[in-house]
């Protein structure tokens, strides 16, 4: 079931979203095979190891106890902390376990290489029936990310599925950094720049990475 949903997500990535403000598509197809495998693997692990992890979580749940936090969120959090995805870290804030501080390293061979990007993520009450809310806090020059750090990504909107997770969302955002898509822009000016003079736009993105994402 989980796998099917993920496959659907991957195959549907070329359709334009009906959302007028964010006609975004997912970069899933552009992910290297290994990352796709990882994504599917996560979904399986999630379905399969439920019992075992739940018991573990109960013994460790003192610090996790944040009034009625759903088990799914506790489990996802534990996995994020114990087995972080390469180049991604996500940790819940102390006073709100639905609110995560996220760091994503700029992927190698992208204009964001060498950058450390800070994001914030919130799991709304409806999660996992509704997508997490995510935005960049670090300034970034990218056609699918706007000035307020909001991200144009279909799985955060109409292509969300409860089979996806925090981890898959963050991997997709990482992939979006490797594959800017100026045809589905959120920032019109940046997209225009990208389409008219890609080399120069990439230079600006590198420059912004040095200026704002140095991790200092």
């Amino acid at each position: 079931m989980a796998q099917k949903l993920l496959v659907l997500t991957a195959s549907g990535q070329n359709k334009r979203s009906p959302d007028r403000n964010c006609p975004c598509s997912s970069p899933t197809a552009l992910l290297p095979g290994a990352v796709c495998f990882q994504v599917v693997g996560v979904a399986f692990a999630f379905a399969g190891v439920t019992q075992l992890r739940l018991q573990k979580s109960e013994s460790r749940s003192e610090e996790m106890a944040n009034s009625n936090l759903p088990r799914r969120i506790i489990k996802e959090t534990q996995r994020l902390l114990s087995e972080p995805a390469p180049g991604i870290s996500a940790s819940p804030s102390e006073d709100n376990m639905r609110y995560f501080n996220v760091m994503i390293l700029g992927p190698s061979q992208s204009p964001y290489e060498g950058g450390v990007f800070k994001l914030e993520l919130f799991l709304p009450e409806e999660y996992p029936m509704a997508a997490p809310k995510v935005r960049f806090l670090t300034k970034i020059y990218h056609p699918n990310i706007d000035k307020l750090g909001r991200i144009c990504l279909d799985i955060l909107k109409d292509k969300w599925s409860p089979a996806l997770q925090i981890r898959t969302v963050l991997l997709s955002i990482q992939a979006l950094l490797s594959a800017p898509n100026p045809d589905d822009p959120l920032s019109d000016n940046i997209a225009k720049h990208w389409k008219t003079n890609e080399a120069e736009a990439v230079e600006t993105a590198k420059e912004w990475t040095r200026l704002y994402a140095s991790g200092a």
Partner: protein, 160 residues
């Protein structure tokens, strides 16, 4: 989201996501359009400064007037209310006539602030307040006057 709902859900929407939600609501337009608001600085990732507009209610001296307000949402918003200040001159019992600041002591919504109150509620309540018996007949300054910028603190809060 209901006004003044203190029980029920234990999910706390963090400040920034709450303000993003308010931004989207503001962009769509609120109710009959007699109150509106928007962000002042599209580059401010912390979304602190906002401008609100109230069209004066019928059957009051404010009818037909357009009032501009500045709302400042600090880092502790929405746990704490924003600072609210009339940019346009207005004579109103809850507004300091020198600074234009809406005084929490005289405007119960700010004094008894609850976390799920939003900027649109402040504006809607201020509009109601304009039409209240103690305000609706107060003599008003000439129309179109704008306050001098007297509160530099509101503009220069750029730390963090």
């Amino acid at each position: 989201m209901s006004l003044g709902n203190s029980g029920g859900s234990s999910v706390v929407v963090p400040r920034n996501f709450r303000l993003l939600e308010e931004l989207e609501r503001g962009e769509k337009g609120i109710g009959d359009g007699t109150v509106s608001y928007g962000m002042d600085d599209a580059d401010d990732i912390y979304m602190r400064s906002w401008t609100g507009t109230i069209i004066g209610p019928h059957n009051s001296v404010h009818e037909g007037r357009i009032y501009q307000l500045k709302l400042f949402c600090d880092k502790d918003y929405p746990d704490k209310p924003p600072t609210v200040r009339f940019h346009s001159r207005i004579n109103m019992t809850c507004v300091n006539s020198d600074t234009g600041v809406v005084e929490p002591k005289k405007f119960s919504m700010l004094a008894n602030w609850q976390r799920d109150y939003m900027m649109e509620h402040i504006l809607t309540n201020l509009k109601k307040e304009m039409a209240a018996p103690h305000n609706r007949k107060l003599v008003q300054p000439p129309e179109g006057r704008v306050k001098q910028e007297r509160i530099p603190a509101l503009q220069s809060t750029s730390q963090g």
